[in-house]
Amino acid sequence: MVSAVMNGGGGHVGALRSFLKKVVQFVIVLATTLLGLVAVTFFIGRVVPIDPVIAIVGDRAPAHVYERTRQELGLDRPLIEQFVIYVKKAATGDFGNSVLTTNPVMTDIINVFPATLELATLGTIIGVIVGIPLGVLAAVKRGSLLDQFVRVLGLVGYSVPIFWLGLMGLLLFYAKLGWVAGPGRIDVTYSYLYTPVTGIVLLDTAMQGQWDAFWDAVSHVLLPACLLGYFSLAYISRMTRSFMLNELAQEYVIAARVKGLSEMRVIWRHALRNAAVPLITVIALSYANLLEGSVLTETVFAWPGLGQYITNSLQNADMNAVLGGTLVIGTVFVLLNLVSDLLYRLLDPRTR
C-alpha cells in the first residue's frame, strides 16, 4: 500500500519534471523564434525599397522636413545600430509608434487583437463542432455518398478563395436575403451604447446588458465566423477522417468489436479518443491559421482586427506596426504549439 503510493507519487514527480522541462524548452524556443523573427522582419523591412519617411511626411514635403524626420526615426544611423536599438526597445514591449495611428504599436495591437480573437475563436468552434462529427462519419461510412460529400466540401474549402466566398456570402445573405448585417463589427447606431472593456464586442455588450447592441454584433459576426468556420472545418474534417480511418484499422478496434461493444461505443469512445490526440495539434494549427490568416476576411467584412491592421500598415510602409504585428503572430503561433504539445502529453501517456 505504502509503496504503491510512493510509486504513484514518483510518477507525478516525473510528470512534473517532464512538464517543467517542456516549459523551459518552450521559453528557449520562444526567445529564439522571436529573435529570429525580429531579425528577419527587421532586415526585410529595411531592405525593401520603400521609404518609411514618405509614409510620415507625405509625397510633397520639402527636403528639410524630410531630412529632419529621417533623423528623428534614426534612419540615418548604421543598420546594425538601428537593429540593436530596436531589439532593446522591443524586449521591453516598446515597438515604437505607428505612423498611421500615431499610437504606440503595442496599444494598437491590444486594441485590434480582440476583434481577430473573437472572429477566429468563433470560426474554430464552428470548425470543431461541425468538422469532427463530419470527419468521423465520413470515415465510418467510407466510400458512401456522405464520405464523398465531406471530401468535396473539404476540397472546395481549400481551393476557393476566401475573398470571393466572402463577397458571395455578403451578396446572398446580406444583400439579397437580408438575414445578417453587412460589413463592420457593429452598427454605428449601437457602437456608442456600450463601453469597450474586453474589446470583444459580444462579451462587452452582453455584460453591460445592451441586448440590442449584442444582437446587432451577433448579426455582424455570423457570416464572417461561418466563413472562417467553413475553412477550419474543411481542414479539421479531412484530418479527422484520415485519423479515424487509421484508428478503425487498428487491432484494438477489432478486439472491441469482438468483445461485443456497440458500434457507437467503439467509434466515439475508443477510436475517436485515440484519434483526438493528433487532432489537437490540427485544431491548434487551424486556430493559429485563422488568427493570422483572416486578413482577406477582415478586408471584405471591414473587420477592424489584426489582419486588417497589418495589411494597412504594409500598404502604408508603417514598418513599426508591421514588425510589431508579425511578432505578435509569431508569439501566438509558438504559444499555441506549446499548448497543443502539452495537451498531447496529457492525453497520450506514451509521449511523456
Partner: protein
Amino acid sequence: MKRLPKFLLSAAMVATMATSFSAVMAATPPDTLVQAWQSDDIISLDPAEVFEMNASEIIGNTYERLITYDIKDVSKISGQVAESWTVSPDGKTYTFKIKPNRKFASGNPITAEDVVYSLQRAVALDKSPAFILGQFGLTKDNMKDKIKQTGPLELTFEVDKPYAPTLVLYCLGNSVASIVDKKLLTQNEKDGDWGYNWLKTKYAGSGPYIMRDWKANEVLVLERNPNYEQKTPLARVIYRHIKETASQRLLLEKGDVDVARSLNPEEIAAVSKNPDITVQSAPKGTVYYLGLNQKNPNLAKPEVRQALKYLVDYQAIADTIMKSKGEVHQNFLPKGFLGAESNNPYKLDVAKAKELLAKAGLKDGFSVTMDTRSTAEITGVAQAMQATFAQAGIKLEILPMDSKQALTKYRARQHDIYIGNWGSDYQDPNSNADTFAANDDNSDNAKAKPLAWRNAWDPGPLTAKTRAAVMERDAEKRAQMYKELQKAVLDDGPFVIFLQQTEVAAVRKNVQNFVLGPSFSDNDVSQAKKN
C-alpha cells in the same frame, strides 16, 4: 407542460433576434449621414500637419480659415473668419479685420490673438504643408515680426515680396492656415509642442462640425458644433472606413450607408441604374500624367517625348478604364484655375509617332519600363498604353509595385517612366507651375525637388518665367503668362498629361446638399440633409 417555459424562452429569443435583425436592416438614423470611404491615409487631424485628401476634407468641415472661396467659382474670394482685409501699397503687408462675436466650439471667443497663434504655430511646427506659408519668407525666427496682432480683432501678415495677392489669399484659405483655439491648445501643450501631440487626434476649431471621435481605419465621427453661426441640418456625420469597394456598394444599396465614396467605374455604372441612388461628380484639381525621366537617353530626346504624347489613346482611356473618374486633359493646370488651358492637341497618331521616332534615330522603337502603383485603375491605364506604345515598336515593360515603393523610386530619380497623379496644394496656378515648369537646381542633391526635378528636367527659361508669374499683380497678364508656360510644357516637357480627375460619390436619393468641391478640402457636408 414542463417543456413550455423552455419553448417560450427560445421562441422569445428567436423573436428578439428577428426583430433586432430587421432593425439592423433599417436605414441609417435620420439625423446622421453615414459615409463609406477608404480612409487609411489619415495620419493626423492637426490642421498644421494634414496634407492628405481624406483628412483635408475633415479639416474643411471642422475648421475655419481667414479666407474662403466660392466652390462654384473659385475666383470669388471672401472672408470666413476675416470680415475684411486690405493690402498695403507696396503689396507686402496684409491687414485683416476679424468678425466680431464669433466663438470656437469650446465656447472661447475667436480673436486676432487666435489667428496670429494659428499661423505662427503652423510655421513653427514646420510639418509637410508648412511650406504653403513658408514660401512667403516666413520662418520660425521671423514669424513674430511678420505675423502681428494689431488690435483685439485686427492683425497684419507680412510677406517678403509683392506676390500676386490672390496667391497669398488662396494660401491663407488652405487647411494649413486653419484657425485653432489658442486657449484650448495652450492647456494641452506639453514641452513647448504647441499642443501638437494632443491635436493630432483631438479637436480645437470653430467649423460647422466638431471632430468627436476618430478610430484609425475604423470610424470617424463628426458632430454638430452648437456654437457655429449657422446650425447644420444634420446632427452627425459618420465616415466608416470600408476598404473593399464591393462592400461599399452592398452597404449603399442596402441603405446601411448614405454615401459611398470609393466605387470603381463598373460599380458606379451599376449603382447609377438603381433608382434610389444618384451619382454625383466634380472635377478635381488633380491631373494624371506620365513622368519621363530625362536621365534615360532615349526619353531625353525631344522627338521621343513628342512621340509618346502621340501614343496615348486619351479618349479611350477616359471612356473605358477611367470612365466617370476623369476627363481628357493635357495641360498642367487643371480646369478651374486662373489661366488654365483646355486645348487637348494630342490624339493617338501612330504614323506621326513613328515619324518622330525615326527622326530621333529610333526607327525600330526601344525598350522602356514604367513604374506603376498596383491599383486596378492605374494598372489598366498602363496596360492600355503598353498596347498603343507597341504599335510604334516601343516595348513597354510594366513594373507593378506598392505605391510607397513606386514613390521612393520616383523621388530618387531611378525610374524610366512613372505613372501618377498630382493634386494642387492650393487653388492658385503657382502650385502646379512651381512643380511642373520650374526647377532651380537639377543636380542630384538639390534642395527643392519639384516634379521637373524628379524627372531630371531642366526647364531652362521657364523657371524664371514661373517665378515672374507669381509676382504679376495684374490677373489678366498673369493668366497669359501661365498659358505660355503650359504651352511650353505641353510641347516639350517630359510629362504626358492625360486626364483631369473627377471625384465621384454615389449618394442615396434621400440625401440632399452633399457637395463635392473643386479640392478635397472643399467636399462639404455642412449643409447636407436627409428627407
